[in-house]
């Protein structure tokens, strides 16, 4: 069954525009990133692989520690590995800056 996970991290940097990268394909994920007026980054993850809450947290915590951006992010995941998720987030940020 699909698992929906929500996370929030403190943020202080703004991004200029929204960005969409990736695809909901095997071992891959889709990231929708939008600028937020809140002083936080909020993330919603929908994944077909349940039970990886701690792994998601680790990947997202590391990304937002390095990039404290005020954004709303949606991730639609189809079994992407942590490395793929990290790359997709970087790619989305590149498109939003």
């Amino acid at each position: 069954m699909i698992e929906t996970l929500r996370y929030e991290y403190p943020a202080r940097e703004a991004v200029t525009r929204r960005a969409h990268v990736g695809v909901v394909a095997s071992g891959n994920c889709e990231v929708l990133l939008e600028p937020s007026s809140a002083k936080a980054a909020s993330i919603v993850v929908r994944t077909s692989v349940s039970g990886f809450d701690a792994t998601w947290q680790a990947v997202l915590k590391r990304f937002f520690a390095r990039n404290p951006i005020a954004v709303q992010i949606e991730i639609n995941d189809f079994g992407a590995t942590p490395a793929v998720v990290a790359l997709r987030l970087e790619q989305a940020l590149e498109g939003a800056r």
Partner: protein
Amino acid sequence: MSLLLAESFAERGARERAQSLLDAQSARELIGPFARLSSPYLAAQGVVAQSDDGTVVMRGTLGGERACVVATDGRFLGGSIGEIGGAKIAGALELARRDFERGTPTRMVLALDTGGIRLQEANLGILAVTEICDAIVALRMLMPVVAVIAGRVGVYGGLSLSTALCSSIIVSEGARVGLNGPDVVETESGIEEMDSSDRPLIWRVTGGRMRFEAGFASELVPDDVQAIRAAVEHAFTHPRPLPPLEPPEFPDPRLERDAFLRAMGIEP
């Protein structure tokens, strides 16, 4: 053309494929991912939905003329067509017809990469295909409707019926076109009929070159963006005469078999 210099069409995603067929800087997406029109039926079946439902619609210009490219993404659920994606395609075709009637013709290109109707949305997918077929027939009376089949999946199932209705069908050698996919044929008719693990066999029967040689496609192109663009433009500037709308007489199956054998280099 050097193989190393070719820009692969098949390696791109649907969005990049649609962009690559339109003039540079002219592409603008309709109902993109941030419209969040994703399938409402997938989550209940344990499948994560994609924000664009795997179908991309882009307006822009093609050879300086108004154009609309629809591209399906074969990587998301095999490029399958559900309610949302199907409505996007049918809607784009209907808009193109309205554009023509208002005196601003829009070149319509269907860059499809799809296994057909999405099983999770069965009846809605079937309904979508009938709407797409209907819209293609209505539009092709006014101006060419061009299909590009140059992705990794090819076109199978319900959408193979729709592409067959297009004025021009451009295929690449790596693409495949067929009604039933190899797995379906093997399941229904046995492994003697089709061994779905035999990839060379699959391409010999449903591959782009075979389809072109047998007369089911109008143009065979390499997997190269520029070549595909050129073929699409040519299809609009040199439209083919339309096949008659009344059902044709069925061809003699022996002649079809002979043509098939000749295309494979065997004298019948």
